[in-house]
């Protein structure tokens, strides 16, 4: 081992896209590898948990953790990595805000398991077997981690130093963060390592955004042939750029798709969904309650749309149920 700074990557409840984002650094990854020793990266390297456990506390310069926290194993691992690392970076939307897995907070655990293992059309499970923390097989007792009722963002479990936003973070932002870390030029603790302005500010279609937006229906991208230069909101497509932090290089917009909010909100906003709701609802072109209701019904799932990546980090954090009621679904 050299005396290069040691870094680790770990994943919790995530899809693997964030790991892909590191690989997407392409030749820049060679600069990173030249500058640091990667001592733990389950997706790519064969180091084990026990190898990290054997290292002294605080001996890792940084650990990048992607994914939300929803199981006992994830919770234990992030606590251990926190002890070993000087700097913890929440990497990607799930770790930063709870992400897509965080939408499980609209249901209780029984509902989530039933949907995944019993009810989905593609499931074949005639015996109705569900994952259990402990199972007896041929006289052996097998254990797996326990799932929690509520999905949490990383900073709801451990102290987090920095956030790299995005689903997934862009190569440019990752490279900037790693270089700033190595150079010791990181901003104050708690910062999100991306510009603190709304996406509209850097949107290539900014000039075509009308002074006043007035919409009589919200359309899905599949329901309309989109002009490639005009503001997507002006075309009636629900774009969350106004309530989302920029820094993503407007990648979705450049692909002619609306912003879905993966970078979270700017530092002035406490609750991305509420702020997006405020902006979107005020664009409805009617002053009549029934007509307003009709126009808004073209947004079939407000929570899933406006909190797509941020439900666990929102003010309400999850669906709430009166004592005794269920949220099967």
């Amino acid at each position: 081992m050299t005396d290069k700074p040691k870094v680790a990557f770990y994943w919790c409840a995530s899809c693997g896209g964030c790991e892909e984002a590191v690989v997407d650094l392409a030749e820049k990854v060679l600069d990173v590898v030249a500058a640091v020793d990667i001592v733990f990266w389950p997706v790519a390297l064969d180091f084990k948990r026990r190898d990290v456990l054997a290292m002294p506390d605080g001996s890792l310069a940084a650990v990048f953790i992607n994914g939300a926290v929803r199981s006992t194993e994830q919770e234990e691992m992030v606590h251990m990595l926190r002890r070993k690392a000087q700097t913890v970076v929440a990497f990607g939307s799930c770790s930063h805000l709870g992400g897509i897995p965080g939408l499980a907070n609209l249901f209780d655990l029984d509902g989530v398991l039933a949907s995944a293992y019993l009810e989905s059309p593609s499931t074949v499970n005639p015996d109705g077997v569900l994952p259990r923390p402990r199972s007896e097989v041929d006289g052996h007792s097998l254990t797996i981690p326990k799932l929690y009722e509520t999905v949490r963002s990383l900073d709801q479990v451990i102290d987090v130093d920095y956030y790299l936003p995005g689903c997934a973070p862009t190569p440019a932002l990752i490279a900037n963060a790693v270089m700033a870390l190595l150079a010791g030029t990181l901003p104050p603790k708690g910062s999100v390592l991306a510009p603190d302005v709304a996406l509209c500010d850097e949107c290539p279609r900014k000039e075509s955004k009308p002074e006043q937006l007035a919409l009589s229906a919200f359309k899905r991208p599949s329901e309309v042939i989109l002009n490639q230069e005009e503001c997507l909101l002006a075309q009636g497509v629900l774009c969350l750029g106004a309530a989302t932090r920029g820094g993503c290089e407007a990648l979705c917009i450049k692909g002619n798709m609306p912003c879905t909010g993966c970078f979270g909100a700017t530092s002035r906003v406490k609750d991305q969904g509420a702020k997006a709701l405020s902006a979107i609802a005020s664009m409805v072109e009617s002053n009549d309650a029934a007509e307003i209701e009709r126009i808004l019904s073209s947004i079939p799932d407000p929570v899933g749309t406006l909190y797509r990546y941020s439900l666990p980090a929102s003010l309400l954090r999850r669906k709430h149920v009166a004592a005794g009621a269920g949220t099967k679904g």
Binding site: L106, L109, R132, E149, D271, K275, S278, L316, R318
Partner: protein
């Protein structure tokens, strides 16, 4: 309201809902003021926050009120067409409809979130609206938003064939 008693004859402590009321400076707040000067009594469960316009009610304020312990949130503004700033109350109306749907999806009942148009002279409608909301929220009981603690007991062990 009628007192109910337990078998032991002791009056149970009645649940008193806490309701945060965002009233606009030009209409509903003045109605509340008028109710006071004309000695109209209404339920003391509302905590009034005066804003210049109901359009100033950021949906974040509503969520934060619930998170910080409100059992209900009431927004009061000028009647349609009467907004001091021309269109603030229409924006409130649009946001209210979407926010109520979102709250419903997050498990907060419709009765806990209410919008009323009450002009400066309408002390009596204000009294009726406040009392009605307090009774409806009282019937629902307290809003508890604690994130459920993890399961105390392990799920039953199942033998896998």
């Amino acid at each position: 309201m009628p007192e109910t008693t337990t078998e032991a004859g002791v009056a149970p402590t009645q649940f008193e809902p806490k309701i945060v009321a965002f009233f606009c400076n030009w209409c509903t707040y003045l109605a509340a003021d008028l109710a006071g000067t004309t000695r109209l009594k209404y339920a003391p469960n509302i905590r009034v926050v005066r804003l210049m316009c109901s359009g100033r009610v950021d949906p974040q304020f509503v969520l934060e009120a619930f998170v910080k312990g409100a059992d209900g949130v009431l927004i009061g503004g000028c009647h349609p067409g009467d907004c001091h700033y021309e269109s603030g109350n229409y924006k409130t109306l649009r946001r209210f409809h979407l926010l109520r749907r979102m709250l419903r999806d997050l498990g907060i009942e419709d009765e806990r979130f209410r919008l009323e148009w009450i002009s400066a002279s309408e002390a009596e409608p204000l009294r009726v609206a406040v009392n009605d909301m307090v009774e409806k929220v009282r019937a629902l009981g307290p809003l508890t938003l604690a994130v459920p603690s993890e399961r105390a007991e392990e799920p039953e062990e199942v033998a896998v064939p």
